[in-house]
């Protein structure tokens, strides 16, 4: 296989906790604590996890919207953390983001056309206004909206339509990678599937790669080739979506999957109920971060953090059960 489009190695983002008048650093919230994965061209990697597990922070750190604390982010083999501001701006043509909230992600003072032309202006993609307008119209048609409505303001569109506009904006610079940060979580279920299908269609047409962040397992399964499961700032399991759903390795993944409703009243499935609350990422448990809530906890889990290793070909997990 050729070199993957995106390689993330040991990505960390710690937020300092400041206290007192002098604002001394009293501790750190380890929002993302050593995350590694790869995304091949044309592939979708899903990232799932509870709220607060650091999946959004990870997504934004990859784009340097949040400056990572440590780690490497290789895009086409270049470490984007080493890029200077000017080079980084050019690099932003390659990687884009689609946000969760379609109401907050579009500038209310710009018309849809201005929103779509903004990226072209920033990167000097077209020289005449007519060309930009033509491109904006194309983009709208691509995401399934009528170009006749491009002189309207975002508030005149519904949530699903706005999300399509957000996708069109991301496409305006012809990116290779799109980080989709819970792009359907704020939408109605009926609209969710339409937008998911749009993502899938665009991927085929434009050979895009996605990092698809979500907390809804059925959404992620539908769209992802591979899935990474995050817990407290770390990826605990990574594998192809079929394998992962069929036979989850990590006890946390098992618990998550057991909570997915099955659309068949006859099927009784054992639910694994997680005990206790999500620990604070400012003060994570010693050893394996998951051990206080794990059903298969062993003595070693309390003292030693499990290693990240390939359990089966193409399947990674961090759990002492597979030592």
């Amino acid at each position: 296989m050729s070199e993957p489009l995106l390689q993330v190695r040991g990505l960390k983002k710690y937020f300092p906790i400041r206290k007192g008048v002098l604002r001394r650093v009293a501790g750190q919230v380890r929002a993302v604590d050593g995350v590694s994965f790869e995304v091949a061209a044309g592939e979708t990697l899903g990232l799932v996890g509870e709220s607060g597990c650091g999946k959004s922070t990870a997504g934004r750190s990859i784009l340097r919207l949040i400056e990572p604390s440590a780690g490497q982010i290789l895009f086409n083999g270049r470490d984007i953390r080493k890029l200077r501001a000017g080079q980084m701006r050019l690099m932003r043509r390659e990687m884009q983001i689609v946000f969760q909230d379609p109401y907050a992600s579009l500038n209310p003072r710009y018309t849809v056309r201005q929103i779509l032309e903004e990226p072209m202006i920033i990167h000097g993609l077209f020289h005449s206004a007519a060309e930009r307008k033509k491109r904006a119209a194309e983009l709208l048609e691509t995401v399934g909206l009528s170009a006749s409505r491009m002189d309207r303001y975002p508030h005149e569109f519904s949530g699903g339509q706005r999300q399509r506009i957000g996708i069109a904006r991301a496409l305006a610079v012809d990116p290779k990678l799109i980080i989709a940060d819970e792009p359907v979580s704020a939408l109605d279920v009926s609209v969710q599937s339409q937008v998911l299908n749009l993502f899938a269609d665009l991927q085929k047409q434009l050979n895009l790669s996605y990092v698809f962040i979500a907390h809804d397992l059925s959404v992620v399964k539908h769209i992802s080739n591979r899935i990474g499961v995050m817990y407290l700032g770390q990826i605990v399991e990574l594998g192809s979506s079929d394998q992962l759903y069929e036979k989850p390795l990590h006890p946390y993944t098992q618990a998550l999957l057991s909570a997915v409703p099955v659309p068949d009243p006859e099927v009784r499935r054992e639910r694994i109920i997680l005990q206790g609350d999500l620990p604070s990422p400012a003060n994570p448990p010693k050893g394996c971060h998951f051990h206080p809530r794990c059903k298969d906890v062993m003595d070693i889990c309390r003292t030693q953090a499990p290693e990240w290793k390939e359990v089966e070909p193409g399947r990674f997990a961090a759990c002492h059960l597979y030592d």
Binding site: R60, L63, L65, M88, R89, L90, R92, R93, Q96, I97, F99, Q100, D101, A104, S105, L106, N107, P108, R109, E118, P119, I122, H123, S146, S148, R149, Y153, H155, G166, R169, V173
Partner: protein, 305 residues
């Protein structure tokens, strides 16, 4: 004909039914319809500007001339009559002419002082709100000091140092009056910069100035505009306060504040000396306030349909 009606609509017609062409009405007209008081406020402000600009043409007399026939035999000011339509003051000057010229001073001080405050306050507020951290702490502590100080005392001191003149008055008011503006701009910037459309602009590779001035600034304009128009009104009042205290516009130049100040000494038997400048001041401030409310709506793309 009936047959044609039964036909399924053409795609073109479908398109039109889905998006009926809305009557294109300029936003300006729509705002006026929805908020008629804006119109009133706007007219009042326009009238004020008109009076200030054409005071020389509209005035019946030289505002500073002390008429020999402008006082009653016992030395009292004359009540409004055919010659002096708003009466005369205790020096025998024409109140009507002085009122017109006074509009110039009020407007000049109100507008320029507010513009200076607007510029300083917006600049500091944006820097403070967007960059945060140490810069924010410093700017906000200075703002706290400005707000904690008795404002009038501050202005009085500064005007006294600068020597009173119209330009020094608006400079003093403007340079000292930015604190509230800075606070409000900072709060708005802090709110707006967290919106995902600002993140999106960064993700698209916008430069900082583009984010600050093309994305954030337009989104904080509504409260800034409202505050500025309100500030014009209150700065006009402040000018009259200063003139009333005797450190504003120096005699014989007429200003509404100085007219009030002179008039209150004789208002028991010449109440028109308070009525007219007081009324003018009230209407001018009211006009700016009404206009400010309307502008907020004009700048809101959502409210007016």
């Amino acid at each position: 004909m009936a047959n044609m009606m039964a036909d399924s609509p053409t795609p073109e017609l479908k398109q039109r039914l889905a998006h009926p062409p809305t009557k294109v009405q300029s936003k300006f007209v729509r705002v006026l319809r929805a908020y008629p008081l804006v119109f009133v406020g706007g007219l009042m402000v326009l009238a004020l500007i008109f009076v200030a600009v054409f005071a020389g043409k509209l005035a019946t007399f030289n505002p500073d001339f002390q008429f020999a026939n402008g006082l009653a035999p016992d030395g009292a000011p004359l009540a409004p009559n055919h010659t002096f339509i708003m009466g005369t003051d205790d020096l025998g000057r024409d109140v009507y002419s002085r009122l017109l010229y006074g509009a110039r001073v009020s407007l000049e001080v109100g507008v320029f002082a507010s513009l200076i405050s607007l510029f300083i306050g917006t600049t500091l507020g944006i820097l403070s709100g967007y960059y945060g951290g140490f810069l924010d702490s410093i700017i906000m502590r200075i703002t706290d000091i400005m707000l904690a100080f008795p404002f009038i005392l501050f202005v009085v001191a500064l005007v006294a140092v600068l020597t009173p003149s119209i330009s020094n008055i608006f400079i003093a008011i403007g340079v000292l009056g930015w604190a509230v503006m800075a606070r409000i701009v900072r709060a708005e910037v802090m709110k707006v910069k967290e919106f995902e459309y600002v993140q999106a602009a960064r993700a698209l590779g916008s430069r900082q100035w583009r984010i600050l001035f093309r994305i954030i600034l337009p989104n904080i304009m509504a409260p800034v505009i409202v505050l500025t128009t309100l500030a014009i009104g209150s700065n006009m009042l402040l000018e009259s306060t200063l003139s009333y205290l005797g450190i504003g516009v120096q005699p014989p130049t007429p200003s509404w504040g100085s007219m009030l100040s002179e008039g209150q000494q004789v208002f028991e038997y010449a109440p028109w000396l308070l009525y007219y400048p007081g009324m003018a001041l009230m209407l001018a401030v009211l006009g700016f306030n009404l206009l400010g409310d309307g502008l907020r709506e004009l700048f809101n793309p959502r409210r007016v349909r």
